[in-house]
């Protein structure tokens, strides 16, 4: 159960191995890897730059992990989130959830990425044809978060 906020890329396989630390009671690991894509809202996008709030970011990610541990039967979780400038195709974020049972792992992983998007202090600037533009928050992200609040 750890979080990292870093400028560098990460290696998903190495992260999974480190999270499991050799334990053999895990039935499965669900991973989500977010990538920079070259379009957004129908426009072409070049590089993406992520800004964050050092200190609060780590705190919020840790809280989100604790919340996932309380809600789901997970044995281990891991969040790696990058900041700084990234080109299309690069990895932005990794979420791992390990459980004895796949259902709990899938649900925990989806919960983590849903909550992360609206509760962790990150902001994105996209390089578009019209220049650099701040990405606006999505209503559907709030909805994705809110559905978990129902219980």
């Amino acid at each position: 159960m750890t979080v990292s906020v870093q400028r560098e890329d990460f290696d998903p396989a190495a992260e999974q191995a480190a999270m499991l630390g050799g334990r053999v009671d895990v039935g499965g690991v669900v991973s989500f890897i977010g990538l920079v894509r070259d379009f957004s809202d129908g426009r072409g996008v070049g590089a993406l730059t992520l800004e964050h709030y050092p200190g609060m970011t780590e705190k919020m990610l840790e809280k989100i992990e604790v919340e996932a541990q309380e809600r789901f039967d997970v044995q281990a979780t891991r969040i790696v989130h990058r900041y700084g400038r990234m080109e299309p195709g690069e990895r932005i974020v990794l979420v791992l959830a390990a459980s004895a049972h796949r259902g709990e792992a899938f649900r925990a992983c989806e919960f983590l990425i849903d909550w992360l998007k609206t509760k962790a202090p990150f902001w994105k600037v996209e390089d578009t044809e019209k220049g650099a533009e701040w990405v606006e928050a999505r209503g559907s992200d709030d909805d994705a978060t809110a559905r978990w609040d129902q219980g």
């Binding site: 974020v93 609206t118 962790a120 202090p121 990150f122 902001w123 994105k124 606006e136 809110a146």
Partner: protein, 129 residues
């Protein structure tokens, strides 16, 4: 106290951080926003639309009615956009804590029960990850 600004709030104000002496009569996050907006120029621009402003006190998410005190670290920023990319499929009418009248956490709106394997509604399909 220390004030921190992020993303376009930082750009409009033209500073990331400043030391600030809490004036008499400024007791809450909402008071502080009103006070800063009245400084004019970049501040007025940054705080022109309170619906687009979020805040944190001592690195915890804060609401407009939350108290502020000297010694606090108070941050102002736009709604968060972590994870993967995506532009708004629609603009939510009033899911903003700074516009809410009941003092609730601002995650109201059309929450829906999620059932594993069930198709999402149209507002979520065909968008980002």
């Amino acid at each position: 106290m220390k004030l921190l600004y992020f993303a376009w709030v930082r750009e409009r104000i033209g500073a990331h951080e400043e030391d600030f002496a809490l004036p008499a009569g400024v007791a809450t996050v909402g008071d502080l926003i009103a006070h800063l907006a009245a400084r004019g120029d970049g501040y007025a621009h940054a705080f022109a639309d309170p619906a687009q402003i979020r805040a944190a006190v001592n690195q915890e998410t804060a609401q407009p009615g939350d108290a502020v005190a000297d010694g606090d670290e108070v941050a102002f920023f736009p709604p968060m956009t972590g994870g993967t990319q995506g532009a708004p499929a629609f603009r939510p009418p009033s899911r903003n804590p700074f516009l809410s009248t009941d003092g609730n956490r601002g995650v109201g709106g059309k929450a829906q029960e999620w059932v594993p394997g069930q198709a999402r509604d149209a507002s979520e399909s065909g968008e980002d990850q």
